[in-house]
Amino acid sequence: MERDNRRATGFTLIEVLIASAICSIILAGTLLGAVSLQRTFAASEYYVNEQAQQLRFLDSLSLDLRRALTVTQSKSLPSLAAPDIIDLTLPDFYTVSPGNPSELVPRDPSFTNGAAVYGNPSQNPQVRYFVSGKVLYRRQSDYATGTLTTVQKALCNDVQAFSISYDSAGQVISTSVTFLPRYRWSLDENAGVRNTTKTYTNTLLRNTRQVSSTP
């Protein structure tokens, strides 16, 4: 069988250089694209994670506001334009199970001056939402287990602004939180290149009507 000597002939140096240059350009483009995609993906994931955190905060706050007996707001610094702390009082609803000290059970209410109350009003659980170092926290202090217990949890990060107000003669609490997400692996962490997201929640107080004035 006759061999095809023409196809076995090698490339010239020029051909190899040109091919290498083209391959390098394509490879560099691909790498740059891949890195950019990876950055975008990371930023998007971080953004979605922060949205989940925002949702968690709104759900947690709504849950507490619905069952609150009192709602007050204050400022962590007098110079702030708007309040950034919410303090809630919840009913002293839980007590230790007589049969299982590690289990909390609802207690029966009793009447005081024509009103039904749970437990000891002086030991009602106190809940505070506040921002510290761009992290929004929920702190609860209560006597459900018989002694004062305080638990503090970080609910979400990258909080830029946080404010509350009373609507409908104090029956509705409106809350808004502005988040400024960080972009992990971003080459530019300047706040100006990032978009903030602002979330709102309006919660109808079930137990009590608050005063309509704001401090």
Binding site: R7, E45, V48, A52, Q53, L55, R56, D59, S60, L63, R66, R67, L90, P91, F93, Y94, L104, P106, D108, P109, S110, F111, G114, A115, A116, Y118, K153, L155, R206, N207
Partner: protein, 490 residues
Amino acid sequence: MKSSLPLSRRGNALVVALMMSGILASMAAATTLILQKRFRQAHQTAAWEEAMLAAEAGVDLAINELRTQLYDPGSAFQGWETQNPDGSLSATAPTGLVSGTTAYYTSTVFLRTSEGGQRSWCEVQIEAPTLLIEPNTKEQWYRVRSLGIEEVPGGGKVAGDKEDIQLRKLDLKYNRRTGQSLNGRPQATRMVEVLVKPVGTFRLALLAANEINMNNHNIVVDSYDSRDPSKSTNAFYDPAKRQDNGDIATNGILISAGSAHIYGDAATNGGTVLNASNVTGEIRDDFFQELFPVTAPVFAPEAGSPTSALTTTTLAAAPGNPANYLLSAVTLSGSETLTITGAADGSATYATVVVSGDIKLSGQSQIILEPGVNLRLFVKGNADITGQGVSNPGAPLQFQLYGCDPASATGGTSNKTMKVAGNGGLRACVYAPTYDITLLGGGVTDSIYGSFVGYDIGMTGVQSVHYDEALGSGGLVSDYKVANWFEDTR
């Protein structure tokens, strides 16, 4: 086409193609997994929110049954079960929720036909425990526990961070409250505990089913609270301690305020408040309040008691359980009186009087309540309590006048009339939603203290109406409201 490449080179191309396919497939799988996790988290969060809607719908169902128990007792609690003290259920519906009983209900299952297709329902329990009998009023409060349940699409897999799981506490494999397997149907559940209190009939200064006409007399309507020394003096109205809860409202569309000075709100049902320049509170047009019909109580009257009051008559109130009297009519003239006598020391005594016909007072005649007497007067016919009106030395709640539903009374089904004289400072509360009420005054200082509910309410010669805020928790139970609300997050 026949390939000219050697076999070894063809194999390399296949490997490269497979590798590229593998890389692309891995990227697609990773993306799908991430998206799936996000979708699952979104569905779980949404289901948790919707479980609250189901739980609060259960509370509404419970309060609706309690209201039905007031207005149509025969229809209340149909489809409900009686829960025994050990937690087991009896298929029989409770006939009225008396103290010590518990009613239980599982709602219709709603299927969301759009995305997810999950089901939701609620399980409701209404308790009437003896510990919820208010010690002062002896009224029964109720405890409602409603569990809202919403199935979660996307399978029983965890999504979200640890904090999300601690907050929302989804049941993915087992029901955390009962320990039972969910058989592949994960769910979100939320429990709400609500205390429901009864509400009396006298919640407003003036309430009409149709129209209020203040007749352009610059009337003053305000409030005081006989229970609070800072809002009254010796439990009586003090103009220096005036409050602004003298609310007036109608289920109809018209209040003719007549430039009255109303220290409170004025509300209509989509209507108008005319001449409302002196209303200090809100003027609203979104008002409606159910006005239940009154049926006179059925009882055996006191032995040997009079059967009518056609001349001066005396009836004795009793401590504890009320003394009951059934009169065919009350017709007094000249200086005749109907006197309800109480205890010598003025301590609390009670009487219930049902008048099956008309009440008519003229001349100087009068209905007199001795100190400490609490009278509930039910009239089935027309009432003309003019003459010298009613002498009640106590609080307005001590003289309650009810106009009975025409359908349950003699004399047809049309509206009846009720005239009440305000001279001398009438202290009374009147509930007659099918009566046209006219409040009459004869002098420049005539004031009325109490609360008035009628079909049409008109005023002639009355200078002021002072609403006692203590009336809000008195009188017959006409409604229920949520007094305490708590979500049990265990």
